[in-house]
Homo-oligomer: 437 residues x 2
């Protein structure tokens, strides 16, 4: 029996700090679970200032990650540098030297997951990446193991805390997007450069990982239709509220036979849907399985402590394999790679859903009739209409809720309506989820 | 490499049927995850009528469970007979013959868990019991693995679907307990004998298992303070609503240093608490961890398909160990057994909480002053009072919400108030959870 499992940590940013703290402060708890110590042997961090907080522990410090990769005493290397380069190279090199690895790098996995998982399997080393999606929510472990007996047909996730915080502030305080974003930045919930969070890209990274694990088929980032929350207006939130909905940025994946849909966009969901009550920086993943029915996992999606906890849970998992001298118990993406071709991914034009549409239209008779005429010609049925409110530059908002329609038809119809002289400015379109039809 | 892992199933009731269905219908999906077939080799069920549904599959049938235990070709025995005897003997015998086992028998584990887990470890066999708590929610796996790096301080669970269905009907339709129970029975959500569900005992079984896994210390069933929902009145639900609360049957476990609290009782929780929105037969477990903060897992807690999915997920987990020739990776109760003494369990008299109190009092001046005087003498502060409504036999309901108080003080105060001539009938007491104080 080994006397300890040795960990090397690359990167002392927010999550790296969380991991180092948990490994040092919860050492006794972890040992009680594992049966032997899980020791933080060394930290690689170029910024010497950051070494300070952990100096009193017997940890080796280096500024050079390569030195750590070459240390044969290290069993598991944790990559928390972030970014694509040199994180990818470090991870691959560590695995090629026989080290097990843990990462929370969603961008890296979304872009290079296939390569990284393949090297892990070739080298018979473990790769843990629970921290890459929804920090404090053990959703990847649930997909790989908890729901292993089930065919998952649908995932809908609030997976970006920054966007959800902004939408919550817009909903509860009536703020505009820019104001709510400034709030988020002041409170430390948004980066100085919040682009990846608010344009949906971060959510798409996570969706690529989730869909791969749920359906056992790789999903490339460019195949995910992605739309951010920048164009959601306070009036959309107000009208949605009147109609009984909340607006959330959802990451959606659905399987229908041999095809899947993967998309990230602002979405109207009924207020009584469990996802509608997820406020602030919280994340949640709702899923539907053939046997389990509806399920939801909720918690903090980011931050050093929750994500650090996920990373250390991966370390414990891998350490258990090391202690038992086994590896490859669970394939990294939950399924043995399929011999049959990957599932076909539908383009956004192929999806069918309900829509919320916002037109700025001249306040005169006949406009609604013209708009509904065009929609009708493209087989788009109208469920309800709201036509009131103050004039904005001679135009009033006209809100149309549709029945289920095909996105391609919708796009054609809207390009016609866009050319109508009675309609001004950009048309607002928000997809609706959470109805049974 | 093995060509298959062989399963023997005891008991073809609701969950047994669900398991047999999943193993036969999802065989391809399971094989893609596991890398080899997970074969349902035999079913032991005394009722021959029940064999019919699976006759076309190549499954051996027996009426004698002992025959299955003795079959050396079986790797994993699934016990879904329920009850204590002979389930306990079958499970122990199977393990002593070197079979791995899976069970969903919460009563058995709550009563004999220590013995059963000990035999599993002595025999170096695996025991899976995810199906024993909240069927479709992978909460045990989350406690054992997903949150393995975290110190859990608190669990609050809606873990009995029948009670939650009844309380939901009482809340939404204004029904009395007996009417809602009849509803539940007619819809198949309650047994003909619903005692264990509505008196909180079933929830206590589950809490014993949850607390053991969360805190790494055994909790005996008799140490759990248990109160059912039979005495919750429609007026309690209505007053709670007015005050901004819902009433739920909660299973509560908290750790404070070396002590724990474990109790099951009807509870007032604020409407904006995520548990308040869990309706009907759904279950949910809310937990607080040092690193993860607040987390919630939500899903169906019972039924053949959700619980069957949990049982088969355990089978897949154990099959992975069999294929790798390993066992004992994760201790059955998540912690290596502690050498230090078990955590002390507080008695109900020692807890501190807020209270909702319902008195039927004479509608005359001075009564409130007398009642609040007694409460004050026992250091119980009053947060708010509602005194209105129609007379019932010359008495009106008087609702008192208290600040945090000690249960022992509360009991003393109430026994004094109970003797007051102005107060008639039993005093209603419901504990409050979900405030930060």
């Amino acid at each position: 029996m080994r006397s300890s499992v040795e960990v090397g940590l690359m990167g002392l940013g927010t999550v790296g700090n969380g991991v180092a703290r948990i490994l040092t402060q919860q050492a006794e708890l972890i040992e009680r679970r594992l049966g032997c110590p899980l020791r933080l042997r060394s930290i690689a961090e170029p910024n010497i200032e950051k070494h300070r907080g952990f100096k009193r522990h017997k940890i080796r410090f280096t500024q050079d990650a390569r030195e750590m990769i070459d240390d044969p005493a290290i069993d598991i290397v944790v990559e928390l540098i972030g970014g694509i380069h040199p994180a990818r190279e470090y991870l691959l090199d560590a695995m090629k030297r026989g080290r097990h690895v843990v990462t929370a790098n969603k961008a890296l996995l979304a872009l290079h997951g296939e390569e990284i998982f393949q090297v892990a399997q070739q080298q018979a080393v473990e790769i843990g990446f629970e921290g890459s999606v929804c920090g404090g929510i053990p959703i990847l472990r649930a997909l790989k193991e908890g729901f292993a007996a089930d065919a998952i047909s649908e995932i809908r996730g609030i997976v970006n805390g920054t966007s959800n915080f902004i939408l919550t502030r817009m909903t509860e305080e009536g703020l505009a997007f820019a104001e709510a974003l400034t709030d988020a930045q002041n409170l430390g919930y948004a980066e100085a450069n919040p682009t990846l969070d608010v344009n949906g890209e971060d959510a798409a990274h996570k969706l690529a990982i989730l869909a791969n694990l749920a359906f056992g088929s790789p999903v490339a980032l460019h195949e995910i239709y992605t739309e951010g929350i920048e164009r959601v207006l306070p009036i959309d939130i107000a009208f949605a509220d009147t109609l009984g909905y909340r607006i959330k940025l959802l990451a959606i994946a659905k399987q229908m036979n041999d095809e899947i849909e993967v998309r990230v966009h602002p979405t109207l969901i009924p207020k009584d849907n469990p996802l509608a009550t997820v406020r602030g920086v919280y994340n949640a993943v709702y899923l539907v399985g053939h046997s389990i029915g509806e399920s939801l996992l909720y918690g903090l999606g980011a931050g050093g402590a929750p994500t650090g906890s996920a990373v250390v849970a991966d370390l414990i998992d891998i350490a258990r394999n090391i202690l038992k001298g086994t590896s490859g118990r669970v394939p990294p993406t939950s399924f043995e790679r399929r011999a049959d071709p990957a599932l076909r991914i539908r383009s956004i034009e192929e999806i069918h859903t309900r829509y919320y549409l916002r037109f700025m239209a001249q306040d005169e008779p006949g406009v609604l009739s013209k708009i509904s005429g065009v929609l009708g010609r493209f087989r788009i049925g109208i469920a309800s209409v709201i036509q009131h409110g103050r004039k904005v530059g001679g135009h009033v908002p006209l809100i149309v809720m549709t029945y289920r329609a095909c996105e391609q038809d919708m796009r054609k119809a809207l390009s016609r309506i866009d050319r109508m002289p009675e309609v001004s400015g950009p048309i607002g379109l928000i997809r609706i989820e959470g109805h049974d039809d």
